[in-house]
């Protein structure tokens, strides 16, 4: 039985099959409409999440399956002190597959070790969020036609952003991918990513402070939010915050076919005026999130259509 706990659980070949399946679902949705008939997905969300939970539910409903679950620890047995191990054992009797989000890091791995049904990690604290990474990969591959030979810009909070770390881990497995890391000094990529992942694998990368200095060379720009509370003083925040807001003026320096991605929710780091630009694909990205979750459910349930 397979689970998905980390973005690297799938090999490059397995990922290729999964992304091909997601594209087939995108192009032939009717073919898959009853693929999960009489199958149930349990969504066990111990902390609030609108987007991820609804994306999983939409994925299962699109496959003709049903959904049950809880949203928030208050409304679950966790409030009474039940362990993750006990909860998943019980859920295994109710559903065929489970997506779990938990504030504690490693919770999904604990669930998988006790579960009798496939477990999907839908986010475990600040640790992993593999279906976001699959979404990002599917978006880039679908719209660029490849995952190799790309220059990817990652902009904003590169220190605490788990989506950025996971995406780097996933993309270094492809040939000739270069990174431009755009962030204030305070929010640079953690040392272990720089040393153990990028340098250790001989991946070309550069670190810059200003988006304008880098945007012209990028094939895709992955935006994240710079949060005020991450700075030691307000002065630095005020000095730097506008460097990381993408607007029409900065976008005019970019290539005509550069993709703009964002894991969402967006607050103010991408100006609303950018939304109508054909390069802005962050809402399309949410759609790809559903396709890739559909492909993942079918793969983990061993359902072939």
């Amino acid at each position: 039985m397979r689970h998905l706990i980390s973005p690297l659980d799938f090999s490059v070949e397995e990922l290729e099959r999964l992304l091909n399946l997601a594209n087939d679902i995108e192009n032939n949705p009717d073919k898959y409409a009853d693929a999960c008939k009489r199958k149930k997905l349990a969504t066990c969300f111990y902390e609030p999440s609108t987007r991820t939970r609804l994306s999983f539910e939409a994925a299962m409903l699109n496959l003709g399956g049903s959904v049950l679950g809880f949203a928030g620890a208050d409304s679950s047995s966790a409030a009474k002190g039940e362990s993750v191990s006990d909860t998943i054992r019980v859920i295994s009797s109710y559903a065929d597959i489970c997506a779990i989000r938990h504030p504690k890091e490693g919770a999904a791995l604990v669930a998988a070790s006790k579960s009798e049904i496939p477990v999907i990690n839908a986010g475990d604290g600040g640790h992993q969020h593999p279906t976001q990474t699959l979404t990002d990969l599917l978006t880039i591959r679908s719209l660029k036609g490849r995952l190799d030979n790309l220059t990817i810009g990652l902009c904003g909070d590169l220190k605490f952003g788990r989506t950025v770390h996971s995406l780097i881990h996933a993309l270094v497995r492809y040939e000739n991918v270069r990174f431009v890391l755009i962030s204030p000094e305070e929010l640079r990529i953690p040392e272990y990513i720089r040393e153990d992942v990028l340098k250790a694998k001989g991946v070309e990368f550069q670190e810059v402070e200003r988006l304008e200095d880098a945007i012209g060379s990028l094939d895709a720009l992955y935006m994240t939010r710079v949060q005020k509370e991450r700075f030691f003083n307000e002065e630095d925040y005020i000095r730097l915050k506008d460097f990381y807001v993408l607007n029409k003026a900065k976008l005019s320096l970019a290539k005509d076919d550069m993709l703009i991605l964002h894991p969402l929710p967006r607050v103010n780091e991408i100006a609303v005026e950018v939304d109508d630009d054909p390069r802005a694909v962050y809402f399309k990205q949410a759609k790809y999130g559903v396709y890739v979750r559909m492909a993942l459910i079918l793969t983990l349930l061993n359902i072939e259509v």
């Binding site: 191990s85 890091e105 490693g106």
Partner: protein, 147 residues
């Protein structure tokens, strides 16, 4: 000069970093064994300046070499039988250590989940880095020697 008699059957742990012997005493659960144990602290050493030594009179099978390898793989393990050293055992870093160290990450599932083993995996043998199996929090052994 302090004299501690030799042992007939058991083991002598030599070249322990000075000050580490009590941690080793507890981690090897020597307090649970019904046998003679001698701990020598701050013995003079040409190689190390100062060192600790532990002598234990007990069957050699009672020793968990994995834990000892994790604590400090530079320790020399001398196996004694019939009053003489019959074997020197090499220590290696274990690939996994269970319930020896506790994950210090307050956001880790091990901080709340009942009855969950504390498991650390060796992720970088060269730098002797272990990471929590669940949250991947890094752990570097404080007893790691400068090489």
């Amino acid at each position: 000069m302090l004299n501690i008699s030799g042992i007939h059957e058991g083991f002598v742990l030599d070249h322990i970093q000075a000050g580490m012997s009590f941690q080793i005493y507890h981690d090897l659960k020597l307090d649970k064994l019904d046998c003679t144990v001698a701990i020598i602290k701050n013995a003079r050493s040409n190689k190390m300046g100062k060192k600790d030594i532990i002598k234990v009179e007990c069957p050699i099978e009672a020793l968990d070499l994995d834990i000892l390898g994790f604590i400090d793989h530079n320790i020399t393990v001398n196996v004694v039988k019939g009053d003489r050293i019959v074997e020197k055992r090499a220590l290696t870093l274990p690939k996994e250590v269970k319930n020896v160290i506790k994950c210090k990450n307050p956001r880790c599932i091990t901080s709340v989940e009942q009855e969950l083993d504390q498991i650390f995996l060796l992720t970088d043998p060269l730098k002797e880095v272990y990471r929590c199996k669940y949250c991947e929090e890094k752990y570097i052994n404080p007893a790691r020697r400068q090489k």
